[in-house]
């Protein structure tokens, strides 16, 4: 049973909004990993279908992100001209830096 239990999905909350300038903002809170990355991916796919100029991920509430989460962000970067990460935690920020993604995923500070 322990093996089955550890397969449970990590807690993740996804919220989408449009700010005054018309920029799409996706707020991601909780923990983003292989277990729930597909749900964020679905959100991103529906938003990038409109080919937005700019896409902002608000990561201030995100405590953890693994490579599956990064892959989703990279996927978004491939479809939107500018992808910005707002307030990523040091953990997330360091992952972006170490994987050489700062040039693709711009960190807002």
């Amino acid at each position: 049973m322990a093996e089955l239990d550890s397969d449970r999905h990590a807690e993740l909350v996804i919220d989408t909004a449009v700010d005054a300038a018309g920029t799409r903002i996706v707020t991601v809170s909780g923990e983003l990993d292989i277990s729930n990355a597909p749900s964020l991916e679905a959100t991103v796919v529906s938003i990038t279908a409109e080919r937005p100029e700019r896409l902002v991920f608000d990561l201030s509430g995100l405590r953890f992100m693994d490579s599956a989460g990064i892959a989703v962000l990279i996927g978004a970067a491939a479809k939107a001209n500018v992808v910005q990460l707002r307030d990523p935690s040091p953990i997330v920020r360091r992952v972006i830096e170490l994987t050489g993604l700062s040039s693709v995923l711009h960190i807002e500070s």
């Binding site: 397969d7 405590r63 892959a71 170490l98 994987t99 693709v104």
Partner: protein
């Protein structure tokens, strides 16, 4: 490795295919079993019923015993009261006769005086039916004066002789039943004590017809039936009066003896109904009825609870079986996944002069998916060896096949030009030219064995650790973006010189990545665990995997070690 796992997978596969069918049959069979059982009370219910009935019986019996004791006590009180009433009657018989006997002694047996004295006591509605004066002693006693009816005793000379003989010897009132004559009477005689010759005053009171005195309802003792006997025994011959048709009395009884002259009266009573009242008589039965109802209700309730529990247990059993089957299937799939993973990775790493090479693949502790981690160590000519390690995002068959195609593409590019930056650029072109939807981090490290040099390029991959004696440091370079993110990118190379006998440890992020932790912490943990170890390369990798893999890591991990032998 692959063949035992394959056998195991096949064996458990057949097992798994058969089991679900069984489970369905079991589930389908269960309701029918339940309906059959519905008519049988559960053991717990039977126990509850039995307990309830036992308690009810005990309560009822106790109440009944209490009621019984109370009835007997009340009856005892009643018969004593009746005895007192009878005792109070005795002086009204004895006093006139004692006075008459004294009067006869002092008047020499004057019949006139006797008649005059006794007249008020004799007649219908009065104490006696007849009074007479008898001179004593006499062999054939006969009355000298009679008031009222002729004494019945006079017609029974033998009984009269014995009776007056007894009367002359006792200082008490002598009492006898005159039952031999046509109408039965009760006879009383008194003779003044002392004088040798003298007179006995004798009186008779009639007994009721058939000795039956119906109890008048509403009278003081109307709740009792009685039988009154002369003497100490309950012999029917000595019956004076009774309120019932048929003797002996039946049911609860109490008796009382009342001294009556030289004899006694034995009074036996029995109650008509309940002395303490109809309600109290019914209390034991009320308790029994209510108790039985409660016991039945408790049994029904227990039965329902027991049945629900049984159903819950059966359900739990089914769920447990399903869980076991799932677990088995999961283990089996996991084993398939691992078999596939191993099939995609190099079986044996080639040997290179002047280098020790070792690699380790640690599957995730959970999850059935195949990971996308891979590694290769290949000869690159001129005393050079290229180490490739990579991690395709995601899990599952897609990640595994992507990994396989990347791995083989890399090998092809290495054969053309082993420079790390070139390999990664071509790989990036390869990935972005097709309709691929994944990213991968890849590290290429070109090892120059004799020159003790290392040239590294990274597509988003974590830097490898370089161990030199007690020192450990991550190779410093600027990481470029992972493969699959953008196209037409030049991957930068960094070259460092390597001290003799140094060890290079390249790995995928599963080894250092922990939830809720900055990556640098995991990197430092790895460095501290590896630095200063004097282990054979194989053992070093095994130790790192064992020490750093957290219990719940759900990412695969690949570790590759290269050690210079001089």
């Amino acid at each position: 490795m692959s063949s035992p796992a394959g056998v195991a997978a096949t064996a458990s596969g057949e097992d798994g295919a058969r089991r679900p069918g069984e489970a369905q049959q079991a589930v389908a069979a269960r309701p029918a079993l339940g309906s059959l059982r519905r008519w049988r009370p559960s053991r717990a219910a039977a126990l509850a019923l039995a307990t309830g009935l036992v308690i009810t019986a005990a309560l009822s019996l106790t109440t009944l015993a209490l009621y019984d004791r109370n009835e007997s006590r009340l009856l005892g009180l009643r018969v004593r009261e009746l005895g007192l009433v009878l005792t109070a009657v005795i002086p009204s018989i004895q006093t006139p006769l004692a006075s008459a006997a004294e009067l006869a002694d002092t008047t020499g047996g004057s019949p006139e005086k006797f008649r005059a004295f006794m007249a008020p006591y004799v007649g219908p509605g009065r104490a006696f039916a007849s009074a007479s004066l008898w001179p004593l002693p006499s062999a054939h006693p006969a009355p000298t004066a009679v008031v009222g009816a002729t004494p019945a005793l006079a017609s029974l000379p033998q009984q009269a002789g014995q009776f007056f003989d007894r009367a002359s010897r006792t200082p008490l009132l002598a009492v006898t039943g005159v039952f031999g004559s046509a109408s039965p009477h009760l006879g009383f005689a008194f003779r003044a004590p002392g004088a040798k010759r003298g007179f006995a005053a004798y009186a008779e009171a009639p007994l009721p017809a058939g000795r039956r005195t119906p109890v008048t309802s509403g009278a003081a003792f109307s709740d009792l039936d009685f039988a009154l006997y002369l003497g100490h025994s309950r012999s029917p011959a000595n019956l004076l009066a009774t309120s019932v048709r048929r003797l002996p009395l039946k049911g609860r009884q109490a008796s009382q003896k009342v001294p009556f002259g030289d004899s006694a009266l034995t009074l036996v009573v029995t109650p008509h109904g309940s002395l303490s009242g109809r309600f109290f008589a019914n209390v034991p039965w009320i308790i029994a009825a209510v108790g039985v109802l409660f016991a039945l209700a408790a049994a029904l309730m227990t039965d329902r609870l027991a049945r629900r529990r049984l159903q819950a247990e059966q359900l739990a059993g089914v769920l447990d079986r399903v869980a076991t089957e799932n677990r088995e299937m999961y283990t089996e799939q996991r084993s398939i996944a691992q078999t596939l993973q191993h099939a995609l990775l190099p079986d044996v790493l080639p040997e290179f002069p002047g280098l020790q090479v070792s690699a380790l693949y640690v599957p995730a502790t959970s999850g059935i998916d195949v990971g996308g981690d891979w590694y290769d160590v290949v000869a690159a000519g001129d005393q050079r060896v290229l180490l490739v390690i990579g991690d395709v995002s995601g899990h599952g068959l897609r990640a595994a096949t992507t990994m396989a195609s990347l791995r083989h593409a890399t090998l092809a590019y290495v054969a053309q030009d082993p420079r790390p930056g070139t390999v990664l650029s071509r790989l990036s072109d390869f990935v972005n030219s097709g309709v691929h939807d994944y990213v991968a981090t890849v590290l290429c490290a070109l090892v120059e064995v004799d020159a003790h040099r290392l040239t590294v390029a990274s597509a988003g991959h974590i830097a490898p650790l370089l161990l030199n004696g007690d020192d450990g440091a991550f190779v410093e370079f600027d990481a470029d973006v992972p493969i699959g993110v953008t196209r037409e990118l030049q991957y930068r190379e960094s070259t460092v010189s390597v001290p003799p006998n140094a060890t290079l440890v390249a790995f995928t992020d599963g080894l250092v990545e922990r939830r809720g932790e900055v990556l640098d912490v995991g990197l430092a943990r790895l460095r501290d665990a590896a630095a200063g170890q004097r282990l054979v390369l194989d053992h070093l990798l095994a130790k790192l995997a064992a020490d750093l893999a957290s219990e719940d890591h759900n990412d695969d991990t690949a570790i590759v070690g290269i050690r210079w032998q001089n």
